[in-house]
């Protein structure tokens, strides 16, 4: 290895000068800037309220970690954060699983069958690609209210399942599956559902995992929709619940608890993204392009 040190840098011969170090410095600076808000939130979640309300607050964590997080999880402001975490988890997983299941099935129907009205259905689904829930909130709210689904998991989950991205992703993927597989299945006398369960589903596993990461984050980070339909604090999700923790009027917000809640709200999606980074990047590129 000592030999390698005296070698000129690999790659193109270029007058880089201090270029490499400057590049590292720039990247570190970028990471610091991008990270600073999260760091500050973490620090705030480990100090006392007076330390924050007498600015400037410290930039290094204090010793109130257990106190603040215990208070947040156990009692919160309106409702224990633990309850909100459970709600968020159910909503995020419900949306991810729901979308994946209905999309797997509908993509299978579109790619592997010929049936009356297929093109109409295809275009109907295609249209839903274009419209975020934010645009149709009032009438959708009325539908949910009409079904008596306010303050229910069904009301939180179902309207957000109606989107076509996942269907298109699976359709794209099925199109790349060799025709010979379906031919072989037909020759073997396997029913379409057998083929789906034994061949197509196992082959889609990577795509399903990648999509799950993206949809989980999509569901977890929903804000406007839960804000509208959960009037009962015990149904609040954590992302929308934080805003409810700010007092109205001139009272001073309980910053350490709010910041502890913010950190708790970040942890699940961050874990999912970091631990499944490769899948996630692939999923992003696939589903958006």
């Amino acid at each position: 290895m000592t030999e390698a040190v005296k070698d000129p840098p690999p790659g193109m011969v270029e007058r880089r000068g201090a270029g490499l170090w400057v590049s590292h410095a720039i990247m570190m600076f970028g990471v610091l800037i991008v990270f600073f808000p999260i760091w500050l939130a973490f620090v705030a979640s480990t100090v006392t309220q007076p330390e924050i309300t007498n600015p400037p607050m410290p930039l290094w964590p204090g010793d109130q970690f257990l106190v603040n997080y215990g208070k947040a999880l156990g009692s919160g402001v309106n409702v224990p954060v633990a309850t909100m975490l459970v709600n968020s988890m159910i909503m995020a997983i419900g949306i991810a699983v729901g979308k994946i299941v209905i999309s797997l099935l509908s993509a299978f129907a579109i790619v592997y069958f010929r049936f009356p009205g297929k093109m109409v259905f295809f275009w109907l689904i295609f249209l839903t690609l274009m419209l975020p829930v934010e645009v149709r909130i009032v009438p959708t709210y009325e539908v949910i209210a009409g079904f008596g689904m306010l303050n229910s998991y069904g009301g939180l989950i179902l309207p957000l399942i109606a989107s076509a991205t996942a269907t298109f992703l699976f359709r794209q993927f099925y199109m790349t599956v060799p025709d010979e597989l379906a031919e072989a299945a037909r020759v073997d006398g396997a029913s379409p559902m057998r083929f789906f369960i034994d061949v197509l589903f196992p082959m889609s596993r990577t795509n399903i995992a990648a999509l799950f990461v993206i949809l989980f984050i999509y569901g977890w980070n929903q804000y406007l929709w839960p804000l509208l339909i959960t009037t009962d604090p015990s149904m609040n999700t954590i992302v929308m619940g934080i805003k409810q923790m700010f007092p109205s009027g001139d009272d001073i917000a309980d910053w350490p608890v709010i910041m502890a809640t913010s950190i708790l709200a970040m942890i699940p999606p961050v874990i999912v993204v970091i631990s499944m980074q490769k899948l996630f990047v692939r999923g992003l590129v696939d589903s958006e392009k």
Binding site: P9, P10, M12, E14, L20, I26, G30, V31, V34, F35, P37, I38, L40, A41, T53, P55, P56, L59, S103, S106, A109, Y112, F113, R114, P116, K118, F121, F122, I125, L131, P132, E134, V135, R136, I137, V138, P139, T140, E142, V143, A162, D179, A182, P192, W220, N221, Q222, L224, V239, I242, K243, I252, W255, M266, V270, V272, V273, Q277, V281, L284
Partner: protein
């Protein structure tokens, strides 16, 4: 569109496609239809009956100075969010691409904010710039700058833009970085032999080759700024001060739920629907025409 080899039968595929169609119909087409229908009516003052007004709601909206202001606000906001999230991301991606080692570590660190919900991002940035306890606003105050986004339009806009763009830097970085890695090495080498130094290569070769990615991100970020930044605005400014940060989606919400003006809110939904449709069509057309070299 479909496989050469297909299975027979029509009942099974209809059953397979039914869940998606039913859910889309109930939670998508019916509400969208309702939005269009409601946009043609105004409720009477007691909310007992609806009066048909044709395109009246639209005419009113388009002549309403508040709505026009909101349009302009949205345009400024989404332009700024797109710029502030794309330019630093591209810069960081270019720098990371030059590194021989460590780019992966930086990527892992930079991914974090993407996982943070816009609403949480709003809370974090609000905390930093809070007029009473914010660290950044306190230091700005020490430097003689009196930060107050609660009263100052420009500062409010600046804060929601930065808070909205923050998480998107991660997202854009991922795409730019992947695209940079996909630029054929030999093309860069050919340019180096032709005499182009790093930045010249960047402007004349790399950037043009990135244009499909850049364009894609442009559309995606505009759509994001239009529709997904509600949480940021709601947590930081609630559209204020004096509607200075009321973007169109926020106005649909505040007119519909806070102001209970259903006809106007529905008409606004329809206008947004047209905007998304146009953006989508534009994207598809453009991608077809120009993207692949």
């Amino acid at each position: 569109m479909e496989k050469r080899v297909t299975f027979k039968g029509w009942l099974l595929p209809l059953c397979l496609i039914a869940p998606q169609v039913v859910i889309s119909a109930i939670f998508f087409f019916y509400p969208a239809g309702q939005a269009i229908w409601q946009s043609l009516f105004i409720p009477d003052p007691f909310g007992l009956s609806m009066q048909y007004v044709g395109l009246g709601n639209f005419e009113f909206l388009l002549s309403d100075p508040y709505y026009r202001a909101s349009f302009l606000t949205t345009a400024i906001f989404s332009t700024l969010v797109t710029l502030v999230s794309m330019v630093p991301a591209l810069f960081l991606a270019v720098v990371a691409d030059r590194l021989i080692k460590g780019a992966g570590t930086y990527r892992t660190l930079l991914i974090w904010p993407y996982a943070v919900a816009p609403a949480i991002a709003g809370v974090l940035w609000l905390f930093m710039f809070n007029t009473r306890v914010g660290v950044v606003s306190w230091y700005l105050g020490n430097l003689g700058y009196d930060w107050n986004h609660v009263l100052n339009d420009t500062e409010a806009m600046g804060l929601v833009v930065v808070a909205s763009a923050w998480g998107r830097i991660s997202y854009n970085f991922l795409f730019f970085f992947a695209a940079l890695q996909a630029v054929p090495k030999s093309v860069i080498e050919a340019a180096a032999i032709d005499g182009a130094r790093f930045w010249r290569r960047f402007w004349t070769i790399v950037l043009p080759l990135l244009s499909p990615t850049t364009f894609f991100l442009l559309v995606v970020n505009i759509v994001y700024a239009f529709f997904e930044t509600f949480g940021v605005i709601h947590t930081i400014t609630s559209g204020g001060p004096q509607q200075a940060t009321t973007i169109l989606v926020y106005k649909v919400f505040s007119d519909g739920f806070v102001g209970q003006d259903l006809g106007s809110s529905a008409a606004q939904s329809v206008i947004l629907l047209v905007v998304v449709g146009a953006l989508t069509v534009f994207q598809f057309k453009f991608i077809e025409r120009r993207v692949h070299y």
